[in-house]
Symmetry: C2
Subunit: 169 residues, 2 copies
Amino acid sequence: MRSRGPVKWKNRNDSARLRVTGDKGTAVPDDQETIDYRLDAQVGFLLRKANQRHLAIFAAGIDNLTPLQFASLAKLLEEGPLSQNALGRATAMDAATIKGVIGRLRDRGLVTTLPDAGDRRRLTVALTASGRSLVSALTQTASKISADTLGPLTPDEQQLFLRLLQRLT
Amino acid sequence: MRSRGPVKWKNRNDSARLRVTGDKGTAVPDDQETIDYRLDAQVGFLLRKANQRHLAIFAAGIDNLTPLQFASLAKLLEEGPLSQNALGRATAMDAATIKGVIGRLRDRGLVTTLPDAGDRRRLTVALTASGRSLVSALTQTASKISADTLGPLTPDEQQLFLRLLQRLT
DNA sequence: GAGCATTTGTTTGTGTACAAACGGAACTCT
DNA sequence: AGAGTTCCGTTTGTACACAAACAAATGCTC
């Protein structure tokens, strides 16, 4: 914990910017080092913005279902009926979140929830006929949304990006 | 709107999975086509999961500040005092969101808000001394959080990923 | 300089997100 | 069979996230 002393900041209210001291001649003391932290270059910030853009594209394509609601329906279409928590795990939502999502889908008659016969703790979530036909009709749109989100990249870059992204999950 | 009729789904409650019909010999009728939509392969889903992972890494490294709160402080350190909405734009938050974030930071004495002299609509947000020293002390930690988030990738891949990601924002 | 559009911040309402604590059911292991 | 553990779903509380509607201040234009 000796390496770098208190951080120096050298910005003013004008357009000044923090930068790592890159002077050539002068010997720079160790603790005069300045940390260059630019928000716009951080992964987290970029992930958040990319997600925002995707959300906007999604909302423009499918306006009567949120991404999470659609994900739940799509997963049920893929896998068939699942317990509420299992569906949550499959769609990366925790127990509290999936409960809200399923509640809203049930209110709209897109899924049913009925207690499991074998395990009295479980609540089995299943598509209704109208839920099933709704998701089925929307899968093409959803695929286009994914394509549009990746639109700024070339096909090769898209493949590469998806592979890298997957490793960060 | 003639091309593809109602989507066929061929999954049961067992482990069946939708697939594009890839038969070679048989002539496949146009409307028998099946859409292969796997949630786990969609950009949006992966972006969301990558973001979740990042959020967890962030919370493990900085537990007394949320990512948005830190982003606000960091931006003020970079740019100096900003109006509330301008800060929101700089951190990719809308007006309603930034208001809540600033309110909580102000409650904790990390920023001050005072009416702009020139423009009576504006609310100027500035770091307090304690806010400034807090962010300054955390920039190194924040950099490590970014590095850890990208950890699964090699340095070359990290650069590449960031460049591609930036184009999707 | 009066009218109109824009900008700034606020409020309300809905929908994620997740931590933490809880009661009840199921499992495990002796 | 009983004890401890794990799993299921629920509830509460905090913090985003964004749409929509609003009032006040500002700027722009004719």
